[in-house]
């Protein structure tokens, strides 16, 4: 079996709202797959269907070769899940929650747990109600990562983590990835994280996959914005293919440039003479924006 997750034409309605509208999602075994989309796009809903918490209204879905709805309990032994909104029982300690969730799944590795607690600098003795948002997130992460499973489903796992802990999270996931047999579905709004971890990604919007592929595949769709102070007039720049929205204010120029036209554009700038230059890589928002405009045309 080469596909850990295989969903085709998924449809999910909540009353009149259509949350998923023919969504396709394919995650290969052993890959880290990024799952992106604006708020309300349907990421969490998709994950809940994959977990058998919600039933889909149309399309087909296989998870680890089985039906996520009818075989839920058996499949869940082979996966772990970090929910988007982590809430802990107010009067159970973090350590108890980690042990409990691990055991309810069929066991966890105490050595691995201790190691992860150490790396995430988490005190497991605090009561659920007293953890900060980031620390609650860490409890869920340790609970999920301490189990030896085939599939990790992570819904915005680093929301609330400080940059240092985000880094730890990346290291741990990369380590898991290097084992080669673990599949990760990672829903995220942080492009840098997706960039660092994911082999492939799927972007969804309004319940439909609008793009899927490797990050490089997607880059050609994006533009970098450049802001530069030049020693002379920017002759010839405006007519270069791939340069958009060129404008000047106070002697500074700004423009957006397609990724594959970046080199000729920079050469033109250098020929004129550059005093300062700021380049902004495509942000997640821009990626979506491009996606949006492409669809409207």
């Amino acid at each position: 079996m080469s596909e850990a997750i295989d969903a085709e034409g998924l449809i999910k309605r909540f009353g009149k709202v259509t949350a998923l509208d023919g969504l396709d999602l394919r995650v290969r075994t052993g890959e880290v797959h990024g799952f992106l989309g604006p708020n309300g796009a349907g990421k969490t809903t998709t994950i809940r269907i994959l977990l058998g918490l919600m039933r889909h209204d149309g399309g087909t879905v296989r998870l680890l070769g089985g039906d996520p709805w009818s075989a839920a309990t058996a499949l869940h032994r082979r996966l772990t899940y970090v929910p988007g909104d982590v809430t802990l029982w107010p009067n159970l300690t973090g350590g108890e929650v980690i042990d409990l969730l691990g055991r309810l799944r069929g066991g966890l590795d105490p050595r691995r747990k201790a190691e992860l607690l150490e790396r995430f600098q988490l005190d497991p003795r605090k009561k659920g109600r007293t953890y900060s948002k980031g620390n609650r997130q860490k409890v869920a992460l340790v609970a999920a990562l301490a189990s030896d499973v085939e599939l990790l489903i992570l819904d915005e796992p680093t929301s609330g983590l400080d940059p240092l802990m985000e880094e730890v999270f990346r290291e741990v996931v990369l380590q898991e990835k290097s084992r080669g047999d673990r599949t990760v579905l990672l829903s995220s709004h942080i492009l840098a994280e997706v960039e660092a971890l994911c082999d492939r990604l799927t972007i969804i919007r309004e319940g439909r996959a609008v793009e899927t592929g490797t990050l490089d595949d997607l880059r050609h769709l994006t533009r970098t914005s450049i802001q530069a102070e030049l020693t002379g007039p920017p002759d010839g720049l405006a007519t270069l293919p791939g340069v958009h929205d060129l404008r000047t204010d106070n002697g500074k120029i700004r423009f957006d440039v397609d990724t594959d036209a970046l080199e000729p554009a920079l050469q033109t700038l250098v020929k004129v003479g550059v005093r300062s230059l700021v380049s902004q890589p495509p942000s997640l928002e821009e990626l979506f924006l491009r996606q949006y405009q492409r669809d409207e045309r």
């Binding site: 909540f14 918490l53 839920a72 107010p90 108890e96 969730l101 309810l104 605090k126 009561k127 109600r129």
Partner: protein, 525 residues
């Protein structure tokens, strides 16, 4: 206090349905009862006779309180005496909903970041609740002042309800400061209310007999307000006491609020274990952790109630023996045994309803687990929906059984003149009815999860039917809706298997339907 006005408007908007309902229901209950009494007793003789019988009936006194006077108005104020508990409950729920519950959910933080004083949420909740209680009292006054023929009595009657509302609003304001969770704040406040009621029952029953324990009514706010006797020996002192208690309690609450940070309780949380005990490995073990506080609390609470109910049983017997003047009435009721039996069977019915509240509360834990996201975490492991729900339901079925058992055993042991088996049996016979209400809660949770809180309507309706059903001459069809109508009465009555088996079957079918719904639906919904 800045921003209190805006917060009050927010509360009024959020509670625009429930607030008018409780004001109208409680405010118009007295006039409704008054009218139906007028229909029930067309002649003075009948009414006076009923008043005399009622005044000596321990079951009635336990449920409604002492009766002073025999006018329609006096009968009315006596009969709706339990309304003071209901307004107390409504008041405390309202205050906690808009203080600790908001704080726990983080809404207060959201509001706190706008221009709102630190004490504003508490002030807004108290002012709104006090206002609603006042409106309820005014409705009572306005509707009865003319009809009852006593303006001052009607004023006192209204004040009785207002006082109960204010006291428990203020008590809730204190409990909301104590812990970080709205659930415990609510539980503590309800426990205080329950204890007040139980003490009142004990004191009043004792007053019927030797009176040695009648002071119990005077350590209970519910006792105070029901001893105003607006149309009998009108006594304004309880109103003064209530105002004082309210003022003191609010001062304490404000002081406690000043000593703590947003979101915290008064007691700092301590560190716990770094690893779970080996036994914490099944859904049932988790359910035990989540339910044990509730189970212990309710079992102790009902056990104490048994102590009071059993303890005053002797007084009931005394009335029957000593009071020669009432002998003809007792004869008509079937002798002194009959009196005690009817008292014991009556209290068993009350205990059954209380246990039903526990059953509904325990069942709704499932919904709480769902809305907080805990259910999602558990169901994403290899725990099936039925195992998850079943482990909670075990507590909503067996928890009330244990609590009822505690009450029955304690009553039976304390009241030594009775038949232990009959007393315990009468209490345990409530269980099928309790389970029917638990099953209704499961049904709503399974099929209409967003309406889960509506499960409380079932015990509320049963209570109303128990309290005013016969007075309001509701037709049988309506009385029969309450499963408690069908519970065989013990001691003193005949036990037949049919109603018991029927109720068990109903509970089973309804519960299974709910679980079937749960298996097919979205989680969370």
């Amino acid at each position: 206090m800045t921003g209190t006005g805006r917060l009050i408007r927010l509360i009024l908007r959020r509670d625009r349905v429930i607030l008018p309902i409780w004001i109208l229901v409680l405010g118009l209950l007295p006039i409704g009862t008054f009218n139906s009494f007028q229909g029930l007793f067309p002649t003075d003789a009948e009414r006076i006779n009923f008043a005399h019988v009622s005044a000596g009936n321990a079951g009635f006194v336990a449920l409604y309180g002492l009766l002073r006077g025999d006018s329609f108005a006096a009968l009315t104020s006596w009969r709706v005496g339990f309304g003071t508990v209901m307004i107390g409950l409504a008041a405390l729920l309202t205050v906690i909903r808009h203080t600790r519950a908001d704080e726990e959910a983080g809404r207060t933080e959201l509001i706190g970041s706008t221009v709102v004083g630190r004490h504003a949420p508490l002030a807004a909740a108290l002012i709104t609740t006090a206002g609603a209680s006042l409106l309820t009292g005014l409705l009572i006054f306005a509707s009865l002042a003319g009809k009852s023929g006593s303006v001052s009595g009607s004023l006192a009657f209204g004040a009785e309800f207002v006082a109960a509302g204010w006291i428990f609003a203020a008590i809730a304001a204190i409990t909301a400061q104590l812990t970080g969770s709205a659930r415990s704040a609510r539980s503590i406040a309800i426990a205080v209310l329950g204890a007040s009621y139980a003490l009142r029952v004990g004191g009043d029953i004792s007053a019927l007999g030797t009176g040695s324990l009648s002071w119990l009514s005077w350590v209970s706010p519910i006792g105070w307000v029901t001893h105003i006797f607006p149309y009998g020996a009108l006594n304004w002192w309880p109103v003064v006491l209530s105002a004082l208690l309210t003022a003191v309690a609010i001062a304490v609450a404000v002081d406690l609020r000043g000593r703590r940070d947003l979101g915290d309780g008064l007691f700092a949380a301590r560190l716990g274990r770094a690893n779970a005990t080996p036994s914490l490995r099944t859904p049932l073990a988790l359910a035990w952790r989540l339910h044990r506080g509730l189970l212990i609390g309710w079992t102790i609470g009902l056990g104490l109630l048994g102590l009071i109910f059993g303890g005053v049983g002797g007084s009931v017997l005394d009335i029957a023996k000593d009071n020669k003047g009432l002998s003809d009435i007792f004869a008509r009721l079937g002798g002194s045994d009959q009196i005690v039996d009817s008292y014991l069977a009556g209290t068993a019915g009350i205990v059954g309803l209380i246990a039903a509240c526990y059953a509904v509360q325990a069942t709704l834990r499932l919904r709480e687990e769902e809305t907080t996201g805990h259910a999602e975490a558990v169901l994403a492991t290899s725990v099936s929906r039925l195992a998850w729900a079943g482990s909670h339901l075990l507590f909503s079925l067996l928890g009330p059984a244990l609590a009822l058992f505690a009450e029955g055993v304690v009553t039976g042991l304390v009241y030594t003149q009775g038949d232990f088996g009959d007393i315990l049996g009468g209490v345990m016979l409530q269980l099928p009815a309790v389970w029917v209400l638990a099953a209704v809660a499961v049904l709503i949770f399974g099929l209409l999860p967003r309406w889960s809180l509506a499960a409380w309507a079932a015990p509320a309706a049963c209570l109303l039917i128990l309290l005013v059903g016969e007075t309001l001459q509701l037709n049988h069809w309506l009385l029969d809706i309450s499963p408690f109508t069908h519970v065989p009465r013990l001691p003193g009555g005949a036990v037949s298997a049919t109603p018991v088996l029927t109720m068990l079957a109903v509970a089973l079918v309804v519960g299974v339907a709910g679980l079937a719904g749960l298996r097919r639906r979205n989680i969370p919904d």
